[in-house]
């Protein structure tokens, strides 16, 4: 059973596609009609996502400011994802920003952090206890992906976009190792490995660019931005296009293999250094750069991680499988070519 890893890759990816695309996002509050609160009565319409509010068991709601609560006067359920809340905002809130918390009997507490600007800073309000919360403890927390503002449903792209680049780096490394081996041994089999890995790596680079471009359109509003990470990706893709052009322009196969191997090693080492340097040259919008936290810090929570790690492993295994096929196809082509010549 030397092929178990191929099966593992397929199973992992099937799981990733199923779980990654079918798991719903956690309920969240996405919009409030007011963003500034002055002391006095106020009515706020709240738009939520993935919730099932019902008039029979209306949710509780309160404004939270520095640990102190302002409770609702009335909660009206407009639809299963929209509420009308009435508050009497007291004077004297301590902090500038207040959170809005909606406690739904079914979904539990849903918080919109820093929902309101509550201007004038005071010394605190009188603690008025809210009416008793008929909070039913949720027996089992269902498996849900976190809802992130801006990302929304596109957070699932994490399982596709990011592993593409991991897989590409693995393939480019395989390619350069074969190039080194070719220069040492002059064995054309090694060259087939280098070329096969470069082909499949380029495919994954293009997929990474496409998935990234779609994600950028959704979150940043543009298909492409002049960003250091994106420039790095573009340079990498161009290098391997140039590698293929170089191979194509030399008719003699041993000479092509040798020149391509030299270029591959030269480009790979410089590329790795560039990818380390580029982010240090300027700030970047991309996660993991210039003050934008990468998913790996507090951003990537354990529920995403649970799918993300299998996704990385699955894509790398699939890419490796594709590479072995490309190498064998190339080998067969060469053999047929030679048989034809002879």
């Amino acid at each position: 059973m030397s092929h178990w890893w191929k099966a593992l890759g397929v199973v992992l990816l099937l799981g990733v596609v199923l779980v990654g695309l079918r798991t719903p996002l956690s309920p969240a509050l996405v919009h409030v009609s007011e963003d500034k609160l002055a002391p006095g009565p106020v009515t706020i319409e709240v738009l939520a996502y993935n919730t099932h509010f019902s008039a029979k068991a209306p949710p509780q709601a309160w404004i939270e400011n520095d640990g102190q609560r302002v409770c609702t006067d009335a909660v009206e359920v407009l639809a299963d994802n929209s509420l009308k809340l009435s508050f009497s905002v007291p004077a004297g809130l301590r902090k500038d920003l207040s959170h809005l918390v909606v406690h739904d009997p079914k979904a539990g507490a849903i918080t919109l952090y820093d929902a309101f600007w509550t201007g004038a800073k005071g010394n605190g309000i009188a603690d008025a206890p809210c009416p008793s919360m008929n909070v039913q403890a949720n027996t089992v927390e269902p498996f849900r992906f976190p809802h992130r503002s801006l990302l929304n449903e596109s957070v699932r792209n994490l399982f596709f976009h990011v592993p593409m680049w991991f897989a590409m780096m693995v393939l480019m490394t395989i390619s350069v190792v074969h190039s080194v081996r070719y220069l040492r041994s002059n064995d054309l089999v090694q060259d087939d490995g280098a070329l096969g890995a470069a082909y499949v790596g380029l495919l994954f680079a293009v997929l990474g660019l496409v998935t990234g471009s779609i994600w950028a359109r959704v979150t940043w509003g543009a298909w492409w931005t002049s960003d250091t990470k994106l420039n790095g990706a573009a340079v990498t893709t161009l290098i391997y296009c140039a590698y293929l052009v170089l191979r194509g322009s030399v008719p003699d196969e041993r000479k092509a293999a040798r020149l391509a191997a030299v270029y591959n090693i030269f480009a790979y080492v410089l590329m790795v250094v560039f990818l380390m340097i580029l982010p240090r040259l300027s700030d970047s919008l991309h996660p993991g750069n210039g003050g934008n936290p990468a998913f790996s810090q507090y951003d990537l929570d354990e529920r995403l991680r649970l799918v993300f790690y299998p996704a990385v492993l699955g894509w790398i295994l699939l890419a490796t499988w594709a590479y072995t096929l490309a190498r064998r196809a190339r080998r067969l082509q060469t053999l047929m070519h030679h048989a034809h010549d002879a």
Partner: protein, 223 residues
Amino acid sequence: MMRPQEIIGLVRLEVALDLRQKASWAGMLLYTVSAVYLCYLGVRGGLPLPTWNALFWTVLLFAAFNALARSFQREDTGRQIYLHTLVDPRNVVLARTLYNMAVMLVLSLLTLAVYVLMFGGGVLDEAEVGVFVLSVVLGGTGFATVLTLISAIAARAGNGMGLTAILGFPLVLPLLLSVMRASKLALDGMPWSITSTYLLWLVLIDVLALALAYLLFPYLWRD
């Protein structure tokens, strides 16, 4: 083996050959002047600082491609075998890189002079001129370190100019980005302490490219 005399001898050979072919130097110069003049005609009038900077580097980049792509062109098989019997190929690439760096040093300063002459040096009034000129020189010589091996590959593939540009562009791009940033900062009048980070990265890339060329070049010469 690295032998200083051998390298010096090879650099001298390059200089002698190039001095004999005055047309190639003249051609390089004419290319630069025409490129700058074309930009001048296209733009007409004063340029804002970022555009001034970007246009300068674009002109210098293409001048560099033009100058460096020919560096292995005169190598026919006979001459190559002859050189191979005399010297270590690694010394050939070191000598060629050093010579190309010298060429690019002259070429980048010349380009800068022509450029300032045509477009006016208004942007230099507030600039750290010393740091700016240093970044121009380091950028120019940086192109030489990266593109020498590339032009050797392209020449061996039998398609010098076109392939040098295709193979070299993605490798030069990050270097170009960092040096453009450095020269922009120098033009803005930023002190050396800020600009130096970018230039140090540049020197690091140069050293790395030189080391790689030294290690890899012998494989290009084997047939």
